[in-house]
């Protein structure tokens, strides 16, 4: 016969202080665990959603990032003439030649300088990246020293306001618009006309060439052809892959640190749960004896105590998950180690992360509660009844 579940509930309620302390311990561990998963996921998601499936990007071979890359005009012209590239009705290839430099700007709050991406683009860039939407002001006029800035830049950096000016490359640039690029890397960038920005930094040529491919184009064939073309020194990547690669180092670091910390912390929480459950068993020796005398099996006693431990950690886990899901409203901005530029991203919560947080808590409960439950079930009826 099974011991009613309400028995376990009531026991937890009777020892409220101890129950709450143990639950808080589990909640803290789950919070740290879930928050670090959310952070790594948010970083990846931000970078992955920066790229589009239909776009490919060419950068100089083994240069890893646009900032280090260089593609000259001649190569850019060969690339845009590829037959796989989508064209407008008038025959213009849907391509943007980007010129990317980093400049350092002071942050609004801390005044600490941080690196910001300045991206000079071709006229079709806005059309090729529909995730970038103008929300205030207008676009730059071709051939002028006008720029538009991402929403995250406007919020985080000193002096980055609509109609303000920014100074870089010995030139004053007028901020004529603000764009919202959602949760993508572009939101942390400044955009302008590549033909004006490149000369300001005394650059001839570009950093990367991004091309939209015709539907059904064979990317692998294009890649092989371009990378074996002796006139070209570039490598071709799907845009999504290119940006996903940039989350590598930082996401790995967050994951390793988060896992290490959670595992060590969970040892603490499991020990906490074990102490609580052992105390619960020793305080209730007579009670357990009575239950056994009434005819409850050892198995039922084991089950009841294990259930109590699981319930304890499950509730703690829920608290932890609830607290950490509040973190999704928090935005983190830090230097991405792969690009050396400041990037803003959110904690991102997914059903999978919530599930693993709760599962983690339950595992802590099982491990912490198992030995005490065994002890409870092993008590001899006579000894237990006599102990009071």
């Amino acid at each position: 016969m099974k011991i009613p579940l309400s028995y376990s509930f009531r026991n937890l309620w009777t020892r409220r202080l101890t129950t709450i302390l143990t639950m808080l311990g589990v909640a803290l561990v789950v919070f740290v665990f879930v928050a670090s998963l959310m952070l790594a996921d948010g970083l990846k998601k931000t970078l992955v959603s920066t790229g589009l499936d239909e776009n490919v990007i060419a950068i100089r071979r083994s240069s890893q990032t646009e900032v280090q890359s260089g593609v000259n005009r001649e190569q850019a012209n060969i690339l845009r003439a590829a037959p796989e590239v989508e064209t407008k009705p008038d025959g213009t290839p849907v391509v943007t030649n980007d010129m990317v430099v980093l400049i350092s700007l002071p942050k609004r709050v801390s005044q600490q300088p941080s690196n910001v991406v300045i991206r000079g683009v071709s006229p079709l860039a806005m059309e090729m990246r529909p995730q970038v939407k103008l929300i205030e002001g207008g676009l730059w006029k071709t051939g002028t020293q006008e720029i538009i800035i991402g929403k995250s830049i406007q919020q985080r950096f000193e002096g980055c306001d609509l109609n303000g000016t920014m100074r870089f490359g010995s030139t004053d640039w007028k901020i004529v618009g603000v764009f919202d690029a959602g949760k993508t890397g572009f939101d942390s960038e400044v955009w302008g006309d590549a033909d004006i920005i490149a000369p300001a930094f005394r650059r001839d040529g570009f950093s990367s060439v991004t091309m939209r491919l015709r539907p059904g184009a064979d990317v692998e064939a294009l890649k092989t052809r371009i990378e074996s073309d002796p006139r070209l020194t570039v490598e071709l990547k799907r845009e999504k892959q290119y940006y996903a690669d940039q989350s590598r180092t930082l996401a790995l670091f967050i994951n390793i640190l988060g896992t290490l910390v959670s595992v060590v912390f969970s040892l603490g929480a499991m020990i906490g749960a074990m102490i609580t459950m052992y105390a619960a068993v020793s305080n209730r020796t007579t009670e357990i004896g009575t239950l056994r005398a009434l005819g409850f099996r050892r198995r039922s006693v084991l089950g009841a105590f294990l259930f109590e431990a699981i319930l304890l950690s499950f509730l703690g886990g829920l608290m932890g998950v609830a607290a950490s899901s509040l973190m999704q409203f928090v935005r983190i901005s830090t230097t991405n180690w792969d690009t050396f530029a400041e990037l803003a991203f959110h904690f991102n919560v997914t059903p999978g992360i919530i599930l693993s947080g709760v599962a983690f808590a339950v595992v802590m409960g099982i491990v912490g509660g198992f030995l005490p439950a065994i002890r409870a079930s092993r008590l001899k009826i006579v000894d237990a009844l006599r102990s009071a």
Partner: protein, 388 residues
């Protein structure tokens, strides 16, 4: 004296519970120490930097070069002892995963870094050969390099394959010196760049300026920056320490997160210990009533409860410290092999031990507060009536 015996006996009353609590605290102390050590590793570069060296770089951002002609102009300033120039090379050894710092430096550089100890004969050889390089001891150990070995790096910023011959292995003069750098000759870099793209030759990443010991670093920095004000490439000069600090600041958010975690872990210690003390005190309320009847004063009870709390916390601290000393060594080996170039120095600081000790004492006091308050306030009659 009786009270100490009582504390000791009380602590041993539930040996399993006491051992678990000590273990719980030890794990948390251990986690605290590891996280602090990781944070310290971040600041190792800042600590190792000298106050009499200034770094002059482009005011736009670190990726923007400065002209070679600045070298002459800076060295003419009064108070400047020596000027060296360097370029970040960012080469890859076989695979992008094998990251280590590699940069091109001119002939003055090694003189300005007395903390990099290169044997005199090796140094002479290095200065004789164009494609010679000097590598740190730890880096050489990691890849099994010996003097005379040939090493090829793949350029990311400077395209192509670059062959070097190891002519020297340096050792750090102090514990905090980075022994994972790869230095090669700036003239070799410049020569090849001139062949490939003459426009990019004679570009310098940053200048290292050694100033007289008694010179005012801030005034000197200002003087250098004024020299190039309103030129195409304006400069930003700061002490090497401030320069290193600005690198650390880029990852400020991550470091902040780790600091928060190191405080959270103290709360976990608190929860585990508070739970145990509260539990024990609750079981012994009737004994406290007996003690009160016998004429023991409140301060005896305070001593009894907080003494037990203190004893357990201190034992936990000692066990945690022993764990930590071994782990930092073990982890040090692991980090050296895998992340050595990100964290060249990974060592336990005395300060960390003191902080962990302080945290253990504080936690012991806080954990005893509520049980002490309850035991002191309790009426004797209520206490005697209490059933555990």
């Amino acid at each position: 004296m009786k009270i100490f015996k009582l504390i000791y006996k009380n602590t041993l009353r539930h040996p399993l519970r006491t051992i678990l609590t000590i273990l719980g605290i030890a794990v948390a102390v251990f986690a605290f120490g590891i996280i602090r050590t990781i944070i310290d590793a971040w600041y190792a570069g800042v600590e190792a930097s000298a106050q009499n060296r200034l770094v002059t770089r482009s005011a736009v951002s670190l990726v923007m070069p400065l002209p070679l002609s600045y070298r002459e102009q800076i060295s003419k300033l009064p108070g400047v002892l020596k000027v060296g120039n360097a370029n970040w090379f960012g080469g890859i050894y076989k695979d992008p995963k094998n990251f280590f710092a590699n940069f091109a430096v001119d002939e003055n550089y090694l003189d300005m870094y007395p903390e990099f100890i290169v044997p005199a004969d090796q140094r002479e050889q290095y200065l004789k050969e164009r494609n010679a390089c000097v590598v740190g001891r730890k880096l050489a150990e990691k890849y099994g390099w010996k003097v005379g070995d040939r090493v090829q790096l793949i350029g990311t910023i400077f395209p192509g394959d670059w062959d070097f011959i190891i002519r020297g292995i340096y050792r750090g003069a102090e514990k905090g010196t980075d022994e994972t750098a790869f230095l090669f000759r700036w003239d070799y870099l410049n020569e090849r760049v001139r062949e490939m793209s003459p426009d990019d030759a004679d570009n310098v990443g940053w200048y290292m300026v050694q100033i007289a010991g008694n010179a005012d670093a801030a005034a000197m920095s200002q003087q250098i920056d004024t020299l190039f004000k309103n030129s195409f490439a304006e400069t930003l000069t700061e002490t090497e320490r401030a320069f290193q600090q600005s690198f650390v600041a880029m990852s400020g958010t991550i470091i902040l997160a780790m600091r928060v975690i190191s405080i959270v872990v103290i709360f976990i210690i608190l929860l585990v210990l508070a739970n145990t003390i509260a539990m024990s005190a609750r079981e012994r309320l009737s004994e406290y009533a007996v003690l009160k009847t016998l004429g023991f004063r409140p301060f005896h009870l305070i001593g009894l409860i907080s003494g037990e709390s203190m004893l357990i916390a201190l034992l936990g601290f000692v066990v945690g410290m022993i764990l930590m000393i071994f782990a930092v060594q073990g982890l040090g080996v692991f980090i050296n092999e895998n992340l050595g170039s990100f964290f060249p120095v990974f060592e336990l600081k005395d300060q960390t031990i003191v902080m962990a000790f302080g945290a253990a004492i504080l936690v012991a006091v806080v954990a005893a507060l509520f049980p002490v308050w309850r035991a002191v306030k309790m009426k004797i009659a209520d206490g005697l009536r209490q059933i555990g």
